[in-house]
């Protein structure tokens, strides 16, 4: 099977295999990605993030339905944490999206973080590119439950939805540092619950402060704050209206393409860093390492010497 060609024509088996190779760091993955890269850059990537228990999967499920109603093909990347102890993971986000399993216009992929910090898996970016190349119009990326600074999603997504819920107490406190500054659409899920009004006021205040602090040359977008009850599909059309508006505005202003470009640049730098680290680790001077292990030199001195003694990297 010519995986690259097959996935470009929408072959699910081929696309799924390419994603697996990329996730596994199998070198065939990079080859496929090179072939299909010119066919990417079209899909709107929408991040779905918020604290654990906010209803990210349930909301994603409802938003898939709404996107399908609007005639779009939908890819989903659902990320769950990998156990740092065993390296294993239980990926259960599909359970709440089961109604879309047999829809040929929907592709759902569950991934483990595999040691990657920041709320995404190390392969999330690559997976989005493959889904984009397969012709999915919209890609939802559901992050692990995040706290304050797991905001990698913002660098990846064109549009980021931040989900809060009433009654988590210090929740706004917990997310304001990172997420409140970066979200494009804010949703208070489980809006039928007690405490909704208080949570709404907290969010509004935060958004107001953010608006005040916005630089004059920033992208002209005021994040809406929307209520939803995802389990009953309530408020979902309004959310997709907002992500549609945001997407149109990005495309019309040229910002959409600029964001995609910045993303690929960041990815290239990240891959370079990863590769350089691997090479440096392989070539670390054994003598220096023995010296620091014997406590003859301190770790700072050892690190300085290790960098100094790195042999020049040869082009492979």
């Amino acid at each position: 099977m010519d995986v690259a060609r097959e996935l470009l024509s929408g072959n699910v088996l081929a696309g799924a295999r390419a994603i697996r190779w990329l996730d596994d760091r199998d070198r065939r993955g990079a080859q496929v990605l090179s072939s299909v890269f010119p066919h990417t850059g079209r899909a709107q990537i929408i991040g779905v993030t918020g604290p654990p228990g906010a209803g990210k999967s349930t909301l994603a499920n409802a938003m898939i339905t709404e996107q399908r109603r609007r005639g779009r093909r939908v890819g989903v990347v659902a990320i769950d944490p990998t156990s740092p102890f065993s390296g294993g993971a239980i990926l259960g986000d599909r359970v709440r999206m089961a109604r879309h399993t047999l829809d040929p216009g929907v592709f759902i992929r569950s991934v483990g973080t595999r040691g990657h910090a920041g709320g995404l898996s190390r392969s999330t970016h690559d997976t989005c590119l493959i889904l984009d190349a397969m012709g999915y119009d919209v890609i939802f990326v559901e992050t692990v439950g995040v706290g304050q600074d797991e905001i990698d999603i913002v660098a990846l997504a064109h549009t980021t939805i931040i989900i809060g819920v009433p009654g988590l107490g210090d929740e706004v406190q917990a997310i304001k540092a990172g997420l409140m500054e970066v979200g494009d659409v804010f949703v208070i899920n489980k809006a039928d619950r007690e405490g909704y009004e208080a949570t709404r006021q907290q969010f509004e205040l935060m958004l107001h402060l953010r608006e005040e602090a916005r630089p004059a040359d920033a992208f002209d977008w005021s994040p809406p704050l929307l209520p939803a009850v995802a389990t009953r599909d309530e408020g979902i059309a309004g959310i997709i209206d907002a992500t549609d508006r945001h997407g149109s505005k990005l495309r019309d202003s040229g910002e959409f393409a600029r964001m995609s470009g910045r993303r690929e640049r960041a990815q290239a730098l990240a891959l370079m860093g990863e590769e350089m680290l691997r090479i440096a680790m392989e070539r670390a001077d054994a003598e220096v390492l023995s010296a620091v292990e014997a406590r003859q030199i301190d770790p700072y001195e050892a690190a300085r010497l290790l960098v100094h003694r790195l042999s020049p990297v040869q082009e492979e």
């Binding site: 099977m1 699910v12 088996l13 799924a16 295999r17 994603i19 697996r20 596994d24 760091r25 199998d26 990998t82 156990s83 740092p84 102890f85 065993s86 390296g87 294993g88 993971a89 239980i90 990926l91 259960g92 599909r94 359970v95 089961a98 399993t101 047999l102 592709f107 759902i108 992929r109 569950s110 483990g112 595999r114 040691g115």
Partner: protein, 141 residues
């Protein structure tokens, strides 16, 4: 602490049929995770078509189905056939739950690779998967 596996085995666990007993499948999911595998759980009341579709999208190595409500003599062969027809017949197909001894030949003939019935030790399942994986790696390399 064991080293993190660079290429963990991916296993889909699904419940076929109308029963809602999740204890067995939950115990197995945790055992597989502890053994360093990625377990994708698809939920209850799945049909063979849903399991096949999810297994393909997730590109799992192993499909494990638990069935406690009879009907398995039809649903399991259907699942095996759907996977084959979709070009995914290389996935290991395991069945667990309440499966009478006399049904084994039919299921094995239909493409079920291994049956673990009630009371199976999770360590045996982990050992079986690791061994399967080792032999498959040799075949590939």
């Amino acid at each position: 602490m064991q080293p993190i596996e660079e290429r963990p085995l991916r296993v889909l666990l699904a419940k076929l049929g109308m029963d809602t007993h999740t204890v067995g499948v939950t115990v197995i999911a945790h055992a597989l995770r502890e053994a360093g595998m990625e377990v994708i759980f698809t939920g209850l009341k799945q049909t063979p078509a849903m399991v096949a579709s999810a297994a393909i999208q997730e590109d799992v190595d192993v499909v494990g189905v638990s069935t406690l409500s009879a009907g398995h003599t039809r649903s399991l062969p259907t699942l095996a056939r759907l996977l084959r027809e979709a070009g995914a017949g290389d996935k290991l197909l395991l069945a667990g739950g309440v499966i009478p001894e006399e049904d084994r030949p039919l299921l094995e003939e239909a493409g079920v690779d291994r049956i673990f019935t009630m009371g199976a030790d999770t360590r045996d399942i982990v050992a079986y998967l690791n061994q399967w994986r080792a032999t498959r790696r040799e075949e590939r390399d």
